[in-house]
């Protein structure tokens, strides 16, 4: 399944699914303080280049209260900004209108910028809808679709690199991550015990489901060690398939 048709999880903030509380967005129908402010300007039918700050500020605060947005930092910040602008508007203007710097200028610039972006959103929304209304191919023939450009990288490559780093580094303080020691000997005993009872076993017979990572790795290393000592034979029909463990005759004789 490709990225476009991949179903989104319910907590994914990029999809129009239920919000997860950290998002003011979907709770109140506004995409933030600028969106709310633009809605007020539209509702009040005022000129965006000449906003009656005192009136709009009052409206903003009461809508915040109605929508229970009093806790939302972004809205509080905008409220504070509006109050500041309102106060600045009350200051006596200096001589000559040309010199007067409109305290609303920055806010107007941001509102226009935001509004322009909303317009792009409308375009994207339409394009996205058009695309959603057409299906791509979703059937994939098994043989014809290998994963694109897979990375040729094995665990042994990585471990060799760790080794290289350790040898080269003067400060090999690289040992803090793994908290548990492995118990390869213990795991070998388990495998031997299982193989005493039966000639064939599977991975799950020697490593319990839900095993701790150190148990998994111990089990794996134990199997490999016993295979090396010819006490058992390991086969895996295909990658990721269950490993089959067969008691070796030599091991039986020993």
């Amino acid at each position: 399944m490709d990225l476009v048709t991949a179903p989104a999880t319910a907590r994914d903030p990029a999809t129009a699914s239920p919000a997860d509380g950290t998002f003011v967005v979907d709770l109140d129908g506004f995409n933030g303080p600028l969106d709310l402010l633009l809605a007020l300007i539209r509702d009040e039918q005022v000129d965006i280049y000449d906003i009656p700050v005192a009136r709009i500020c009052g409206q903003f605060l009461s809508r915040m209260h109605e929508l229970r947005l009093n806790e939302a930092a972004e809205y509080l910040e905008m409220a504070a900004r509006l109050i500041r602008i309102k106060a600045q508007m009350l200051l006596p203007r200096k001589d000559g209108l040309d010199q007067w710097e409109d305290p609303r200028a920055e806010l107007v610039r941001r509102l226009l910028e935001y509004q322009q972006m909303r317009e792009v959103v409308d375009v994207l929304e339409k394009l996205g809808e058009d695309r959603r209304n057409r299906f791509g191919r979703s059937y994939l023939a098994q043989a014809a679709a290998p994963p694109p450009a897979p990375l040729a990288l094995s665990l042994s490559d990585l471990l060799v690199a760790v080794d290289r780093v350790l040898r080269a580094s003067r400060k090999p303080s690289i040992h803090e991550v793994i908290p548990r020691a492995l118990d390869v000997d213990g795991a070998m005993e388990t495998v031997r015990a299982v193989l005493q009872l039966r000639a064939h076993a599977r991975w799950r017979d020697v490593v319990r489901a839900g095993a701790e990572p150190w148990e998994v790795l111990s089990g794996l290393l134990a199997l490999l060690e016993l295979a090396k000592r010819s006490e058992l034979h390991l086969t895996q029909p295909r990658p990721f398939a269950d490993v089959e463990i067969r008691r070796e005759l030599a091991g039986e004789a020993a």
């Binding site: 990225l3 129009a16 792009v120 959103v121």
Partner: protein, 189 residues
Amino acid sequence: MNSLAKLLEAALFASPRPIPTDELAALDAEASPAALQSALDELREHYDVDGHGVELVDVGGGWQVLTRPEYTEAIERAQLAVRPTRLSPAALETLAIVAYRQPIGRAEISEIRGVDVGAVIRSLHERGLIDVVGRAEGLGRPLLYGTTPAFLEQFALRHLEELPRVDELAIALRKAGDPGVPVAEPQPA
């Protein structure tokens, strides 16, 4: 249809994603670019003229066969295929800003939207619609984001220039020489 057109059709029916033109060219090493283009044209025309349920579209630098929109409702009603989830307004706003202002960092997007965009960026990044394209200078060298080919695919765009230019938008800044030109031209991905 000629044999190259048939081969192209077969490949396009085998792929869930648009196939880039150079990959289509790899299907037949002996075909010239002109022959490839004319086979694509033939295939498209065939779908259009003969009356098919599918059509050939040119998207994000590649080619894709898609069903025609008039059949979507019936297919969905019969539960034979599912339409992908719609993007949230928050995601669309963020994408719109990234598309027009790339490369752009999280702080700048947050500033334009007036809300923090960390979670939305993460999720758009996971969906492969945006990607890190560099780092800004300065404190902490913040990551810069840009749109991806999957973004073009999601909106069936051939390239970013298909989005409206800023001067084509209804809202334009009135004052000439305003320092804050709101949204730049879309940049090629």
